[in-house]
Symmetry: C2
Subunit: 140 residues, 2 copies
């Protein structure tokens, strides 16, 4: 079991106020600014909940896909996952994953099978299932 922690602070109302977010377990970022405008309009160099969810999803999907390939005897040389998370109408609506894989010795059906299995086993995908539309596509 592993616990990981982060914290956020906010001053003022939603639209004119502003806040910060910190990754406290790792210290990767400290008091990164967040605002409603930079979440919903131009990012303007600021992170947002959707960007952080996309990062969580991309990292987790890499691990799940690596494991599904390796457990079938196909250790990947390199996997790339680009995640796009959409916020619309006050909801996190969609997570689109574009995946590419360099897997020496594996044929296309073997990669596709492992990709489908990862879509089912990925912990972050499962945390979002039925609430967020998840679309996994393979870049070739």
């Amino acid at each position: 079991m592993a616990d990981r922690e982060a914290r956020a602070t906010w001053h003022g109302d939603l639209f004119k106020g502003s806040g910060t977010v910190s990754a406290t377990s790792s210290g990767l970022f400290t008091e990164a600014p967040v605002t409603w405008a930079s979440r919903t309009e131009r990012a303007d160099g600021h992170t947002s909940p959707e960007e952080l969810m996309a990062a969580a999803q991309a990292a987790c999907f890499c691990m799940a896909f690596s494991n599904e390939l390796s457990s079938r005897g196909n250790e990947p040389a390199r996997l790339d996952v680009e995640a796009t998370c959409t916020f619309e109408g006050g909801k996190v609506t969609t997570m689109v994953l574009q995946v590419s894989a360099d897997v020496p010795g594996a044929d296309d059906p073997a990669i596709t099978e492992a990709l489908s299995a990862a879509e089912q086993s990925c912990p972050v995908t499962n945390a979002l299932r039925n609430n967020v539309d998840i679309v996994v596509t393979r870049k070739t």
Copy 2:
């Protein structure tokens, strides 16, 4: 509508391999290292999907809570949210939020009512609902 992007890369199998994760919309972090060991054992200065989800949740909950307070006429001076995300048995099992609020002029029941409303309206909470146990507590 706002799209936010991140990407991750992985080399090798799950247990001996390693990867990186980047927040590409903001550039907040680039090629931050991730491993299975630092996700599930000691963080060792590395981020993980659960830490990034905790950060997304903390920032989003601040915004939702600010909005629920302000829409009831109680603009917050300061809100703090500490989020702890637990990974256990290959699942994201729990998100615990400890919330504190400095809201000039608001009495306790008003703050508690807005907190309950935020638990229902927060977009990240809703993205995880029914898949991850979400526990919101007020620090006083």
